[in-house]
């Protein structure tokens, strides 16, 4: 008895380095922020910081962030899905699949500062496409309301890594669709659309949702691309937090904690929604 107890304790010993690392550099820092969000500078419990988030500027920052993240996740999912379906379901020559997957691997990791530079050079005010359209076709994108340093500019830029990420994650799921399912549906009289609506899409739904949550969190926490693209001018949550950490622009450190706490809540919420929906839609799996 004592033997096995000691053995079990020794088993846990092997996990200690990981636990120490995770606690010190992931969990404790996060908890510190969370706890700080509910404390006064003197250390007393308060909701004042959370309430303090309710200013027009902070509300707007969250809202723009959510909009950018949601739209880039949604569009990334939709476009990435279409491309993944095109390369997996046999309508295109088999040769295009390998290069597309490889390229997606690269593009999904090409984020941050250089990505912003690439888009500035392409559709920024003096970018390649912008200039081309203006000189060759007389089309001035600005007149049509295009501005890279805006919400939509950010969305378009984020899509550069969101789409390939979706392709990478959804391709195995599409490969998992059995040919017989499609044939069984067809021979039972279903049209292609009915097959997708009643069989394929429900089967893929958890994967799509999961990727969507991942893409959302991915965009929501992205700081570098946004800062390199727009500087501190665009009012979104991560940039506001960045400015707060550097220079306490909110005038209260604890309000900064609350701002960061809000970000955790939102990405956490996205993932909770994902988990709940996933469990509900996976009743038919073991």
């Amino acid at each position: 008895m004592a033997e096995t107890l000691r053995g079990r304790a020794a088993n846990w010993l092997g996990l200690v380095p990981f636990i120490v690392f995770a606690v010190l550099f992931l969990i404790l820092p996060t908890l510190y922020i969370v706890v700080g969000a509910f404390r006064t500078p003197e250390g007393a419990f308060t909701f004042q910081n959370i309430i303090g988030l309710n200013t027009a500027s902070i509300r707007n920052a969250y809202w723009v962030s959510i909009k950018v993240s949601f739209m880039s996740a949604l569009l990334g999912c939709a476009i990435g899905f279409a491309i993944a379906a095109a390369i997996t379901l046999g309508s295109l020559p088999k040769r295009v699949r390998g290069p597309m997957i490889t390229f997606s691997g690269v593009a999904s990791n090409f984020a941050g500062v250089p990505l912003a530079f690439a888009f500035i050079a392409t559709i920024g005010p003096a970018g390649l496409i912008t200039m081309y359209l203006r000189t060759e076709w007389g089309i001035n994108l600005r007149v049509y309301g295009w501005n890279l340093l805006s919400t939509w500019g950010l969305i378009v830029t984020y899509l550069f890594f969101q789409i390939p990420l979706m392709i990478l994650i959804i391709t195995p799921a599409l490969d998992g669709l059995k040919r017989e399912w499609r044939e069984a549906a067809e021979v039972l009289g279903a049209t292609g659309l009915q097959y997708w609506r009643m069989v394929a899409f429900p089967i893929l739904f958890p994967s799509i949702l999961g990727t969507m949550a991942l893409l959302f969190a991915n965009a929501f926490g992205a700081v570098a691309t946004a800062i390199a693209l727009t500087g501190p001018s665009l009012n979104i949550a991560p940039i506001l937090l960045y400015a707060q950490i550097r220079g306490d622009v909110l005038g209260s450190p604890n309000l900064g904690y609350a701002l960061a706490f809000g970000m955790i809540v939102i990405t956490g919420l996205a993932n909770t929604i994902y988990i709940v929906l996933r469990i509900r839609s996976e009743r038919w799996l073991k």
Partner: protein, 260 residues
């Protein structure tokens, strides 16, 4: 109909990926008026700041990879061998960095490990560098852990361990001589991904005030026109190289598996 739709989707994707790359490449070559030239690259590469920050980031990446391997391989191995019940929990923790924004975590670092705290890591440059390295390890944890865990799934951990133990090997020997070589391709792909992430990383380095490549690029971007495009091309080439090396290492793994 299906075919048309598939081609449209595919070509849209190709254009979306190619145009920005083309744009940045073209821009990076346009420093001299009227002709294409490598001036922007020449200026960037000659910049001592570039050399210093780039070196800093590469070294950081290598240290991060070394630490990541030391942390992740034994942990993943141990969990598979002795604590299979804990696997979902460990996996959950390793996925947390995908949920909690990095900027929030680094905010916590700054407050938790500042000069007046119990562990004043940000007090010295070395301390801050170590803190940054831990931060990078945290960022790469989801990828590293998954890669290694997948690699371990393909081998029979328990049997290998028993075989090694029966020949008198200790834990260190088992890990270094038996387990690591078997998951080397997986470890390598995790390592190259870490390299790709760390070299251009901006948020943590900037907020911890370290002279890394990411913040350098951002500052240059705010002040120059053509050099940033050249930097973007370089960064893209590095990412591409890392991904190529990952593919190479997985191909290597298929090769060895076929041989065994």
């Amino acid at each position: 109909m299906n075919k048309v739709f598939a081609w449209i989707a595919f070509l849209f994707g190709v254009l979306y990926f190619i145009l920005p790359l083309f744009g940045m490449a073209e821009f990076s070559l346009s420093m001299r008026r009227g002709v294409y030239s490598l001036d922007a690259y020449r200026v960037v590469l000659a910049d001592p700041q570039f050399q210093a920050t780039f070196t800093f980031s590469v070294v950081m990446a290598l240290v991060t990879i070394a630490f990541g391997i030391l942390l992740v391989v034994p942990t993943a191995y141990w969990v598979r061998l002795k604590l299979p019940g804990m696997r979902p929990w460990v996996e959950f923790v390793t996925l947390l960095p995908l949920v909690i924004p990095a900027i929030v975590v680094v905010f916590g670092y700054i407050r938790l490990y500042n000069t007046s705290s119990w562990l004043p890591m940000t007090g010295t440059a070395t301390g801050t560098n170590i803190l940054l390295m831990f931060g990078y390890s945290m960022l790469s944890l989801p990828y590293m852990y998954r890669a290694v865990d997948t690699g371990l799934r393909a081998i029979d951990v328990a049997t290998l361990t028993e075989a090694a133990q029966s020949m008198g090997a200790g834990w260190g020997t088992i890990l270094a001589r038996v387990i690591l070589p078997n998951v080397l391709p997986a470890v390598l792909s995790g390592a190259f991904l870490t390299l790709a992430i760390v070299i251009g990383e901006f948020t943590m380095a900037a907020l911890l005030d370290r002279p890394a490549f990411g913040p350098y690029m951002q500052i240059l971007g705010a002040n120059k026109a053509y050099e940033p495009a050249a930097l973007a091309v370089i960064a893209f080439a590095i990412t591409w190289a890392c991904m190529g090396l990952i593919q190479l290492s997985t191909r290597f793994s298929k090769h060895t598996r076929a041989m065994s």
